[in-house]
Symmetry: C2
Subunit: 311 residues, 2 copies
């Protein structure tokens, strides 16, 4: 039996990965309310949006304003997704604590989504690093290796290619890297195999696991990753997000279910789960007509739950 | 990283644990069709019903006939749940391959559900063992230790009490024992802790893990159990079953999702997943109005799936 880390961070990505995948455009005021309540429930890392062209993703067009609000909350790590140098410049200008550059290890997926090869994304990261260093800002750069467990377009994605690109991102100046099962193909065994190898390359610069629940394995995959010592996981409140390739399929790991799994397993998250469930209800109310996921909200906490109730 | 077993068995309990928890009474012909198709999809262990008084559980009143059919399929292990010696006598008479006697490690749950203390159930198992031995039948006896991770009535269930009762069942003559998270309270860490201790008591007589997906952790819990070498899991097609204490909550681990997790992780189950998904659709059609669960049926198999496609 592996020893689990004492603590772990659930990074909220519902405001970015969740909202970008659904039809509803949440008003800025509600995004701010969401961030405020997530903060009050103990969450300390939130991906607030993405600096992509508003025409491409109107749901996230207010990222600048949302980031500005998030920056007012003491101790909150406010991150943004950036598709390129231009997005990075906005993130630097807005003093984001962290900017995440996604790289798709699947060549086919990379071309389809970013119109760049994976190696061109690595080159973009080098330019972003230069811009960050020149700016004097403290914004961290995370290289997120996506489609790391397979791809809906090309099918298999080779482990060696994922590792090569992870190394290339680090060489190009990424402060840290993460692994994402963008399309929900991962299983806990594949996760264990890849994470173990990635740790040999990246060590403690491998900072996060990002799992989609498309086939019900997000939590099992997170647990396999946790068992290898990784202490940060992306998750989306109410598991919003879905999968464009699988109508009706679940989105990200649900924040509340992941936090429950961690706390029940004795891993401290700082999250007050009842408060988080109250927020879930509020956000689900804003997203009427959209599919929400997750299970804890129906069943409630077990009577013998010993996890933290107060962040 | 732990080494996984090469093979594992997904024991279908949808015909018992699933159907007993929902309103719809499935006609015998449909149960037989279900068993036939599950067998055709490669399933080789099916819990076909329960020898409880028909008045208490009309959904399972045809267990005798369903068992008789299951016995006609070569190589199928047909099991039944039995609440007591009387049920065991029916199981012996019907030549069940296995009879499972549930014991609730929660004193409160045991009294509420079986009107016996856990130790009285141990005594019943001794009587059942004597009856089996006197009958000359080969029917195996499994002692299923339920509410092993907590209880909706009494809350905490102590690990030491679970282990004491498991030892008592073995001492009383159980051929093997299993652990059940009857109410969906388990988390993968608690599972790892308990299974590791239980293995020290029962060794390879610890034969099965039974997890409910009430809080989304059935698959993570199964994986934690698998990682410790356990090679059999109960599951219910379409995750039917629910939880009487949590309206809308998921039932057992979904057979198709569990089989997918195992096969994707390189653990052979002998199950043809596309055939199983076709059966899921058929059974879900019979159960219109009932809640079904699981995720694989929406998303389908990944394009890079390498598991067995033919049982």
């Amino acid at each position: 039996m592996s020893t689990l880390p004492a603590t772990a961070i659930v990074r909220e990505v519902g405001l970015r990965d969740g909202l970008q995948s659904i039809q509803t455009i949440l008003p800025t005021a509600q995004k701010i309310e969401w961030i405020q309540q997530a903060y009050a429930a103990g969450q300390r890392e939130i991906e607030v949006g993405s600096f992509v062209p508003p025409k491409l993703m109107p749901q996230l067009a207010d990222t600048w304003d949302v980031l500005a609000f998030a920056k007012t909350l003491p101790g909150l790590t406010a991150s943004v997704l950036i598709p390129n140098l231009k997005g990075a410049e906005r993130a630097l200008e807005g003093d984001a604590d962290l900017m995440v550059l996604p790289l798709s290890a699947s060549h086919a997926h990379s071309l389809a989504n970013l119109r760049k090869t994976p190696d061109e994304v690595v080159q973009e990261l080098a330019r972003i690093r230069a811009a960050r260093d020149a700016s004097g800002k403290k914004t961290l750069i995370e290289g997120g290796v996506g489609t790391a467990f397979g791809c809906t377009l090309q099918g298999e994605v080779k482990v060696d290619e994922v590792l090569r690109l992870m190394q290339a991102l680090l060489d190009a100046g990424a402060d840290r890297v993460s692994l994402a099962d963008t399309v929900g193909y991962a299983d806990p065994h594949s996760v264990s195999v890849l994470v173990e190898k990635a740790l040999r390359i990246a060590g403690n610069k491998l900072c996060c696991g990002h799992f989609h629940d498309t086939r019900g394995l997000a939590l099992a995959n997170a647990y396999a990753t946790l068992s290898l010592g990784i202490q940060r996981f992306d998750a989306s409140l109410a598991g919003i997000g879905g999968c464009p390739h699988a109508p009706g399929a679940s989105g990200n790991a649900a924040t509340e279910d992941l936090a429950f799994m961690l706390e029940a397993s004795g891993v401290k998250t700082g999250i007050d789960i009842p408060k988080l469930l109250a927020l879930r209800q509020q956000v689900a109310g804003w997203l009427t007509g959209e599919q929400t996921n997750g299970t804890l909200w129906r069943a409630g906490l077990p009577k013998n739950f010993k996890g933290a109730l107060h962040g």
